[in-house]
Symmetry: C2
Subunit: 463 residues, 2 copies
C-alpha cells in the first residue's frame, strides 16, 4: 500500500549520527564570556553529567545507542514514515510527499527522543534530580515523562504566563509526577531577584533557564543536574534517529534519496534530527535541498547574524557560535512558542554558513492555512511549530507542479497540535496576525553584539 | 526486545469478525416500539445506508474489509501491541500485561476504526452529509476526521454543556471542517421543542440523538444519513480489527492465547473490538476470562436488567435487547463521559447472558489512581474511560501475584487522555468523588420497563 512504512525490530538504527566531524570547517567552540577563552569539557561539569559532555565534544561520526535507551525509544519508535497521498491529490502535484510522524510518542512530539536519553545518561552518572525550564510546556512534559520512566525527580520552571494560561501541559507534568512551578519563583536567588525587580513580570524563557541552572548548581551533592531540550550538540545527536530511520524507510520502498528535506527550526533539534543524516549525504555529493523553516517574525537564520552570543536572556550561559537576533530580542507573541527563540543550534548555524542548508521564513497566517489544509487532507492536526514545515512543503509541492517535476519531498511532522488548539480557534475567528521583523531590530542586534568575539571559519581548525 | 509488536503490511487482517452467527442462542432482534414487531432491514433505510444495514443483520462470520477502507485504516493501523513492562515491575507481578495502543490514531482513540468505515460505505451509497451526536466530543471528532478524509459534509450535535465547557474537541471538529452546533439547537423541530420546554437545559445525549436523526431523515433527497459510534452490530464489527490484530501479534511472540482479556465498556465498541475474536476462541473451548469494565456509578452490566429498552432518552429508536438501567436513568457526572450510558450493545449484553463474559464495575477514584500509576510507569496518560480497564488490569495482576500464576493479561488502551486532563487535575486537587447506584434506581428501572416486550433466549431461534 506504501502509504506508511514501518521498520522491523532488527532494522532500527543502533547508532546516532554526529555531524560535527563531517562539517567542512571545524565546529566553532563555546567561549567563556569572562575572557573569551574556549570552554573546556570540565567547564560544563556542574550542570551536565560528564557522559553527556563527552558527547557534546565528540568528534566520532557514529555513537552507539545504549541498549537500555533503545528499549525505551522502542516503546514508540520507529515512528512511521507516511506518504501524504491526500495532500498530494489536493495540491494536484507530481511531487511525492513523505513525513515522519513524531506525534506518536506519549507526550506527542519528537522531544522524548532526547529526554529519555538524557535521563538515562544522568541516571548512569548518579544524578537523582533533573531541572529544566519550559515555555509552553512541550519540553517540560517530555522530560517529566522521561524521568517517570527512569525514576528520577524532575523539577520544571515554567514561564509564568504559560503556567497561568496553558494549564494542560502543567497537568501532564503533574500526572507524570514532576514538580512544576511558575517562573520567576521564590525558590532560587535569581527568581527572587527577578520578582523584586519586576514584580508583575509574565516571566521569560531566559529567566526560567537561569532558575533551572541555579537550582542544579546549588545542590552541592552534585546529584542534581540541568537538562536542555534543544540547541546543544548532544541534543541534536539524539534526534538523528529520526533521519536515520527515514533513510531506511525510504530505501525499503525503493527511494534512493529525497530531493528536498524540510523541518521547522526553533532551537534546531527536530530539524537536525531529520536532516543531518541527509546533510551527510549532501557533503558526500548527493543533490538534496535541505530547508530549515522559521517564523518571519523571528527570522534567526534568514535575517540574523552568525555571531557569538549568549543562549539566554540573562547572559548566564557560555557564548555560542550561532545565528542570532541578539539575546535581548523579544519575539512577537506568535502561537509557535517553540520557535520563539533568538538563537539557533551551532551545528545548524554553521551548516548554513557552509552552504549546506537553505533556510526560509514563513508568516503565521500562511502557516495556519497550511496546517488546516494538512488536517483536512491527511487528518492530522499539527503543532503550530510543525505548521511552518508544512507551509514550506506546500510551497515546494506547488513549485514541483509548475516545473512538472516528480520530486520526493520529506519533512518532519514534529508533533501533534492537540494541546495547542486555541491557536486554531483564534485563526478561525480572524484574531491572528502576521508580524514583521523591522530593520531597527537588526541594527539593534548588530550593536548589541559588536564587541563580542567573532566566529572563525578558518578551515585549519585553529581557534 | 518484545516490548512492542508490529505487524507487517501482509499480516494485517483483511476481514472483520462477526460474533452474531457464533452466539449459542440466536441474537435477539430489534423491535418496533409501536407494536412489538421485529424491525426489518428496510426499517432502517431512512437513517442508515443499506450496505451498513446489511452488515447490521449479517449472519456471515467473516466480512471482507474493502481495500479502500484498509488503505485508510492503514494510515495509523496496525496499532502497536505493547507490553507493560514498567507496570509489571511496579506491581511486582508474575503476570505479563499486554495492551493495544489505540491512542495512535489522529483523533486519539479507537473511534476512527468505524468512523472511516461508515463514512466510506456511506460515500459508496451516495450519501453527501453525515449527522451525528456527541457528548464530550470523542465520537464527533472521529467522524469529522473521517468525513474530511472522504470529502463528506459532517454535522455534529454536541450536548450544550460540553459544547460550552469543553471547547477543545469542538475546535478539532472545526479544524477538520465539520459543522458542530450546541444541542438542543434551533435547527431541528425536536431541538426547538426541547428549548421551549426546558429553556435552561444543559442538553443531553438523548436530545442530541433525536436532533441528529431528525436532521438526517428531514433531507428528502436521501443524501443525508445518520452515523452512530457504538452499540449497533455493524459498529462493533468494524472494531474487531483490534482483536484480530492482537491475536496475530501475540502469535508472533509465541503466545497462544491470553488468560484474561479486559476492556472498558460504555456502549461496548472498544471492548467488543478487542474481545470478540477471543470470545470466538472461548466458544470453541479456549479457557479465557473476558471482562468488560464499567463505572460503579453506571453499572449497566453488573446491576442492570437484560431487557428491551430504547437506545435514547427521548424514546425515538427501536427497542433493543440489552442490559439497561432504564432509558430515563441519568448517570452521575463522572469524568468518563463515554461510559455514561444507560444501555449496552446487544451483542455484548447477550454474550453476558450466555456466560461468555464476566463484567465488573469500578469506582472513579480507583480508576484515576490506576491511570496515574499507569502514566508514571508506562508513560501514557489515558482517557478516563480507559482508566476503568486499567483498574481491572491492576486488580488481576495483583491477584496473579497472590496466586503465584504467570498469567497473560491483554487489555485495550482505547484512547489517550490529552483532551481530558481536567479530570486528572480535579483528582489531584481532591475534588472528585465516588457515586453509589442506589437500590431505588434499580426499582425505578424495573418499573419503567415492566410492560415492555421481554427478550427470549430460546435456542431454537424462533421469536
Amino acid at each position: 500500500m506504501s502509504v506508511k512504512v514501518f521498520l522491523n525490530e532488527d532494522e532500527i538504527p543502533r547508532q546516532w549520527y554526529n555531524l560535527a566531524p563531517d562539517l567542512p570547517s571545524p565546529l566553532q567552540p563555546p567561549l567563556s564570556p569572562a575572557d573569551g577563552s574556549v570552554v573546556p569539557p570540565e567547564g560544563w561539569a556542574k550542570i551536565f553529567p560528564m557522559n553527556l559532555v563527552e558527547q557534546e565534544y565528540s568528534k566520532e561520526r557514529w555513537i552507539d545507542i545504549p541498549d537500555e535507551v533503545l528499549q525505551m525509544l522502542y516503546r514508540w519508535r520507529p515512528s512511521p514514515l507516511k506518504r501524504a497521498v491526500y495532500l498530494e491529490k489536493a495540491l494536484d502535484t507530481p511531487a511525492k510527499i513523505y513525513y515522519k510522524d513524531e506525534g506518536v510518542s506519549p507526550p506527542g512530539s519528537h522531544k522524548p527522543n532526547t529526554a529519555v536519553t538524557q535521563a538515562w545518561y544522568n541516571k548512569q552518572f548518579g544524578t537523582k534530580v533533573l531541572t529544566t525550564e519550559t515555555g509552553a510546556g512541550q519540553w517540560g512534559s517530555a522530560l517529566s515523562f522521561a524521568c517517570s520512566l527512569l525514576g528520577l525527580e524532575c523539577k520544571v520552571f515554567m514561564v509564568r504566563i504559560s503556567f497561568e494560561q496553558k494549564p494542560f501541559r502543567k497537568i501532564m507534568m503533574q500526572t507524570w509526577g514532576a514538580n512544576c512551578v511558575a517562573s520567576p519563583s521564590t525558590e532560587t536567588n535569581s527568581g527572587r531577584s527577578f520578582m523584586e525587580k519586576y514584580p508583575d513580570t509574565p516571566g521569560s524563557l531566559g529567566m526560567a533557564i537561569s532558575e533551572a541552572i541555579e537550582a542544579a548548581v546549588a545542590d552541592e551533592s552534585g546529584q542534581t543536574k540541568y537538562s536542555i531540550g534543544s540547541c546543544l550538540n548532544h541534543v541534536l545527536l539524539h534526534q538523528t534517529i529520526i533521519g536515520l530511520e527515514a533513510k531506511k524507510q525510504l530505501e525499503k520502498i525503493g527511494i534512493k534519496k529525497p530531493d528536498i528535506v524540510i523541518g521547522c527550526a526553533g532551537g534546531g533539534s527536530n530539524f537536525a534530527g531529520l536532516a543531518f543524516p541527509f546533510v551527510y549525504d549532501k557533503i558526500n555529493g548527493a543533490d538534496i535541498e535541505i530547508i530549515p523553516v522559521e517564523p518571519a517574525s523571528c527570522p534567526t537564520m534568514t535575517r540574523g547574524m552568525f555571531a557569538y552570543d549568549f543562549g539566554d536572556t540573562a547572559c548566564t550561559t557560555p557564548l555560542a557560535p550561532m545565528h542570532t537576533l541578539g539575546h535581548s530580542f523579544v519575539p512577537p507573541p506568535i502561537h509557535a512558542g517553540g520557535l520563539r527563540y533568538h538563537g539557533m543550534a551551532p551545528l545548524v548555524s554553521q551548516s548554513i554558513v557552509e552552504g549546506l542548508l537553505t533556510p526560509r521564513n514563513v508568516h503565521q497566517l500562511e502557516c495556519y492555512a497550511s496546517a488546516i489544509q494538512f488536517a483536512r487532507t491527511e487528518g492530522i492536526i499539527t503543532a503550530p511549530e510543525t505548521s511552518h514545515a508544512i507551509a514550506a512543503v506546500i510551497q515546494e509541492a506547488r513549485k514541483a507542479k509548475e516545473e512538472g517535476k516528480e520530486k520526493v519531498i520529506l519533512f518532519n511532522m514534529s508533533g501533534h497540535g492537540l494541546m495547542d488548539l486555541n491557536g486554531y480557534l483564534q485563526y478561525f475567528e480572524g484574531k491572528l496576525q502576521d508580524y514583521a521583523h523591522p530593520q531597527e531590530e537588526i541594527d539593534r542586534a548588530e550593536a548589541e553584539l559588536a564587541d563580542y568575539p567573532k566566529p572563525s571559519m578558518d578551515k585549519t581548525g585553529k581557534w
